[in-house]
């Protein structure tokens, strides 16, 4: 049974091709960044976002019209899109940036997504954007919030539970905040960023990966969207944290007090 007057939901899931979680990070010889000649995979928080979109469709059945995955990255990022398609997305958009170009900054990504969402209209209008709260390689955690600001939409960040009511065009989201959680009711359209505790992403089995090869991926460039990805920040130096020195053991309380006095700690 189709929902009566309500328009069906179009969900957009931006994903990022980031350094794989299991990789041992090394600083590159020029000290300008991290060694990127390593294994990459979809950002785990974005996997959770894709999983949530697919679960929403399973829960709302006909309420969800389409799930679109989008990524902004080099040509290799299309593998990440294939993973999203294998997990259950219907189609994908790849905003290609040249291999030699620096990685786009969160503001650039937000502007590109904003331009993409503005393009859609009528039946193709995006109602819900679900994305990871941060990428595990740069840990910026800004894109979702910036996107909501550019669009003028509400934002439900660090979501650990999402419930959508298509008829009423609203969502109830449980957010993880300092000291507990907060439940908010938001009107659609909405930007949601996912926390680790939202769900457990599914494994994309081989038959699904094969099926995903037939799903469409639309290719775009920065020029098509009218967005400039030039970085506004310049990384001056990247260094590893100082090596941890071991602590020392003491034999008695008096020795401990003596050592503390030597270090400069005096009784208040």
């Amino acid at each position: 049974m189709r929902p009566s007057a309500a328009r069906l939901l179009n969900i957009l899931v931006p994903v990022k091709r980031s350094v794989d979680y299991a990789v041992k990070i090394r600083v590159n010889p020029q000290q300008t960044g991290v060694d990127l000649n390593v294994k990459h995979s979809m950002n785990p928080f974005d996997e959770i976002a894709v999983e949530e979109a697919v679960r929403l469709r399973e829960r709302l059945k006909d309420g969800v019209k389409s799930i679109k995955a989008v990524t902004i990255g080099p040509p290799k990022a299309s593998e990440t899109l294939r993973t999203a398609l294998a997990m259950g997305a219907d189609s994908a958009i790849h905003v290609e940036i040249p291999e030699s170009a620096p990685a786009p900054e969160p503001l650039g990504v937000a502007k590109a997504l904003h331009a993409l969402i503005q393009r859609g209209d009528g039946e193709g209008k995006v109602d819900l954007v679900i994305m990871g709260k941060q990428a595990i390689d740069d840990d910026a955690g800004q894109t979702g919030q910036m996107l909501a600001g550019l669009l003028g939409w509400g934002q439900a960040t660090f979501a650990s539970k999402v419930q959508v009511d298509v008829e009423k065009r609203e969502a109830v989201v449980l957010r993880e905040i300092d000291g507990g959680s907060e439940e908010i009711r938001c009107r659609l359209p909405l930007v949601v960023t996912t926390d680790l505790r939202l769900n457990e992403p599914r494994y994309a089995s081989l038959p699904n990966i094969m099926k995903a090869k037939k799903k469409p991926i639309e290719k775009l460039t920065a020029a098509d969207l009218g967005v400039d990805f030039t970085p506004r920040l310049e990384t001056l130096k990247v260094t590893e944290p100082p090596v941890r020195v071991g602590g020392g053991k003491v034999e008695s309380v008096d020795e401990l007090v003596a050592k503390l006095k030597d270090a400069g700690f005096t009784a208040a």
Partner: protein
């Protein structure tokens, strides 16, 4: 013949999974190949069925291992705020 197709699909799936095994010293592919080779001459459908079930079980266990490892790592890196 349907069992044959299932066995081949299981082999392909396990092979793909084995690529991401966390311990480089563990010869996942070698062990898997040995297990399949040992059972290649089975003819009784019941025996083949139980062998396929064991293969499925190993696949689920490996998936659980990967999922747990990833979750534990992420939970350590991004702990819940107090």
């Amino acid at each position: 013949m349907d069992q044959r197709r299932r066995a081949i699909a299981l082999y392909k799936e396990l092979h793909r999974l084995g690529r991401e095994y966390p311990d480089p010293a563990y010869n996942f592919h070698g062990k898997m190949r040995n297990l399949f080779e040992r059972n290649r001459q089975l003819t009784d459908p019941q025996e083949i069925e139980s062998a396929l079930k064991l293969g499925e079980y190993i696949k689920q266990e490996t998936l659980a291992l990967y999922a747990l490892r990833k979750y534990r790592h992420l939970r350590r890196m991004y702990p819940p705020t107090e």
